[in-house]
């Protein structure tokens, strides 16, 4: 526990909603419908709701795990599994967060390159983003939270643009409801997990919340907001595209923006992508912040310097990725690790912590 932490460095409980929500929404929302549709077809929106519900359970688990004292997951790993195994787990967590930051940054740069500036070198937006990230991280977690808040509030109006594709949609595409097997739903949910990744930041941010126990409702609301947004995008995508068309569209949400008609701009995607910079930024900040927290506690390097190392790593990996296949590979890797994190590691430490507590009580 950090005793030197002052009350003024903590965040209000309601802000955890923005932290979780902004870390969940990233580049995935621009193209996830086709991956889900491949399994669950016209029932994909139900898959989104199922996954959302599952993540409410995960949030509940996290609060149970963290319920004792004011520790984050790094302290708990060390406490439960000893210094060695705990450190290995923590380093793995750090690498996972770092991978998350890299995947999001590189994929978003790919979007910029594919849609707006085909000639743009990768290092330029990467450098701009990462320097800004350093600037924000230098301000501490409260600044990061501020970025999360604005990363949700500023682009929220983009949700209304769904009205334009909805006008060209045929909502009978959603019928007949529940026309898929249980296996399809399970595979779809597994696939959908990638889009919901990011809630794990709670495990690290928990000690930074004022009255952390009261913040639970806000964490659930963060996941709830994510579920609502994803469901909306999914329903519009299903109605706007035919199945075959959706399967060929890499960035289906962006393509749907092509039918937004505004008097002063011909291609709405350019505005959409520009505003998406606000959505991406909190993701990078939070992931690198999380990784640097772990690094600080495990490796005992000052956060200020460790962030620099992490940023250099992210930057290097970003410019080494040069084509779609590599980026896809990185995405799949992150999604696999994230999947195991939620469906194996989290339930495991949940059970472990429950048993640990019970045993301790008896002694």
């Amino acid at each position: 526990m950090e005793k030197d932490k002052q009350y003024s460095l903590l965040i209000s409980p309601f802000l955890i909603m923005f932290v979780i929500h902004s870390n969940q929404i990233g580049v995935g929302i621009l193209g996830f419908p086709r991956y889900i549709e491949a399994f669950a077809g016209n029932d994909s929106w139900i898959v989104v709701l199922i996954t959302g519900t599952v993540f409410h359970v995960f949030i509940w688990m996290m609060y149970r795990i963290l319920s004792e004292g004011n520790f984050d997951i790094v302290d708990l790993n060390n406490k439960w599994f000893g210094k060695w195994i705990g450190s290995i787990l923590n380093c793995a967590l750090m690498l996972y967060l770092l991978l998350g930051a890299t995947v999001i940054l590189r994929t978003f740069i790919e979007v910029i390159q594919a849609w707006m500036f085909p000639e743009l070198a990768t290092w330029i937006p990467a450098a701009i983003y990462l320097l800004l990230t350093y600037y924000v991280l230098a301000g501490g977690f409260r600044t990061v939270t501020g970025i999360c808040f604005f990363g949700v509030i500023i682009p929220i109006w983009l949700a209304f643009t769904a009205a334009s594709p909805a006008k060209l949609s045929s909502f009978s595409n959603l019928l007949p409801i529940m026309d898929h097997s249980l296996m399809d739903f399970v595979s779809g949910t597994k696939q959908m997990t990638l889009s919901f990744l990011g809630a794990e930041i709670l495990l690290l941010a928990y000690p930074f919340i004022k009255k952390p126990k009261n913040s639970r409702i806000w964490a659930h609301m963060g996941v709830g907001l994510t579920t609502i947004l994803y469901t909306m995008v999914m329903i519009v995508s299903l109605a706007f595209y035919s199945s075959g068309q959706l399967q060929q569209s890499i960035w289906s949400t962006l393509i749907a923006w092509k039918v937004v008609e505004l008097p002063f701009v011909e291609r709405f995607e350019y505005i959409g992508i520009t505003f998406w910079c606000f959505v991406i930024f909190p993701n990078i900040c939070l992931n690198i912040w999380g990784a640097s927290r772990v690094g600080k506690k495990v490796l005992h390097i000052k956060q200020k310097y460790f962030v620099l190392i992490l940023i250099t790593i992210v930057f290097t990996v970003c410019i080494l990725m040069t084509n779609r296949d590599q980026i896809d590979y990185l995405n799949t890797l992150a999604s696999k690790i994230g999947f195991y994190f939620y469906y194996i590691y989290l339930p495991f430490i949940f059970l472990y912590s429950s048993i640990w507590r019970r045993v301790k009580k008896r002694i």
Partner: protein
């Protein structure tokens, strides 16, 4: 502080990393036409507007031949580069080209992030190149003119909704086929002459203006423009702003399908050549209309079934109403599915006189 300074310095050094495109200097395309060229090549015709800062817009057309749409760009050596297709309004195909398939050319527009999806795709009776290069007296150029013509035909006229997105939607979708507007030119005039029926991406048939009106009404709930109805007693009545409510009922789609198309129409009479518009004559108009749409609709549906195409998306309706729907079986059954059309016409207003 030093972070801020370093950021400012860096962002200043980053300017001009990407090629700029200045609107006065790059050619902007509004219209392109594809025709069959020699030796399996495609003949592309474009019409170009160059914006002169102090004068009116200047229009020029260019022709080139190549195997792909983007390949045509290299052949257009008389043009300054880069060519921008961001404002492309209309993509035309000559009839001979349309009969062989249009997806290869459209791929270029569907793939390109700079291209829009509300672009119109249309087939020209005859050669699309001739239509573009013809010196029409349209002030704004042929591209924007055609865009307006088609847009208004959809918004206020009798044309069903169509654009590049809907073409792509139906091309990739199962149990549906696309339709695109059919244009024709007579001397110094371009006009809409109906709809081209596509099988996947190949044109296999046509609908004339009359049939297009019927098609728009029974395809899905919509609003159409004006229709002149010949009555059995030799009089004529004009109906306007006809709103249709359409329901497709497909039963036993997996085994022995049968389809009911239930259409409910609401229209206003805006012109009548007879003596007086009585209650009887109104109901006669309604009945004539019902009969006309049913007969024409059935004839069209029969034609669609014979051609093996499904522009009404009956297959898609069947899918949405059937659990575990089997498309391959549906395709086998489709040509012989009994399809009924049931029309009910309501006459609303009849102007300010009887």
């Amino acid at each position: 502080m030093k972070y801020i300074i370093s950021l400012i310095v860096l962002s200043l050094s980053l300017t001009g990393c990407v090629n700029e495109e200045i609107i006065d200097q790059i050619p902007i395309l509004f219209i392109v036409g594809y025709d069959k060229g020699e030796e399996g090549k495609v003949k592309g015709t474009i019409s170009l507007q160059t914006f002169d800062p102090n004068q009116e817009v200047d229009t020029q057309s260019f022709v080139a031949e190549a195997y792909t749409s983007k390949g045509l760009r290299n052949q257009l050596s008389g043009l300054p580069k880069p060519i921008s297709i961001g404002k492309m309004a209309v993509i035309l195909f000559g009839e001979d080209m349309a009969e062989e398939g249009i997806i290869n050319m459209l791929d270029s527009f569907i793939r390109d992030p700079a291209a829009g999806r509300l672009t119109y795709v249309a087939v020209v009776e005859g050669s699309s190149g001739d239509l573009i290069t013809n010196e029409f007296q349209y002030l704004q150029g042929i591209g924007p003119f055609l865009q307006n013509l088609l847009k208004q035909a959809v918004d206020h006229g009798n044309m069903p909704e169509n654009n590049l997105h809907l073409f792509d939607y139906k091309y990739h979708g199962e149990g549906m086929d696309a339709i695109v507007p059919l244009l024709s030119q007579k001397e110094s005039e371009v006009k809409i002459s109906g709809l081209a029926l596509l099988d996947d991406d190949k044109m296999v048939g046509k609908l004339n203006l009359d049939e297009m009106f019927m098609f728009a009404l029974i395809q899905k709930s919509s609003k159409t423009g004006l229709y002149e109805l010949a009555l059995p007693d030799g009089n004529y009545a004009n109906l306007q702003t006809i709103k249709s409510k359409v329901k497709y009922k497909v039963s036993n789609a997996n085994t022995a399908p049968s389809v009911d198309i239930i259409v409910e129409l609401n229209g206003n009479i805006v012109e009548y050549t007879g003596e007086e518009l009585t209650k009887e004559s109104k109901s006669e108009i309604a009945q004539t209309m019902e009969k006309k749409i049913e007969d024409n609709g059935l004839r069209m549906v029969k034609m669609f079934q014979e051609l093996g195409i499904d522009p009404l998306a009956i297959g898609d309706h069947a899918r949405s109403q059937t659990r575990n729907f089997n498309f391959s079986k549906w395709y086998d059954l489709y040509p012989n599915v009994p399809i009924m059309i049931d029309v009910k016409v309501n006459i609303g207003e009849s102007g300010i006189i009887d």
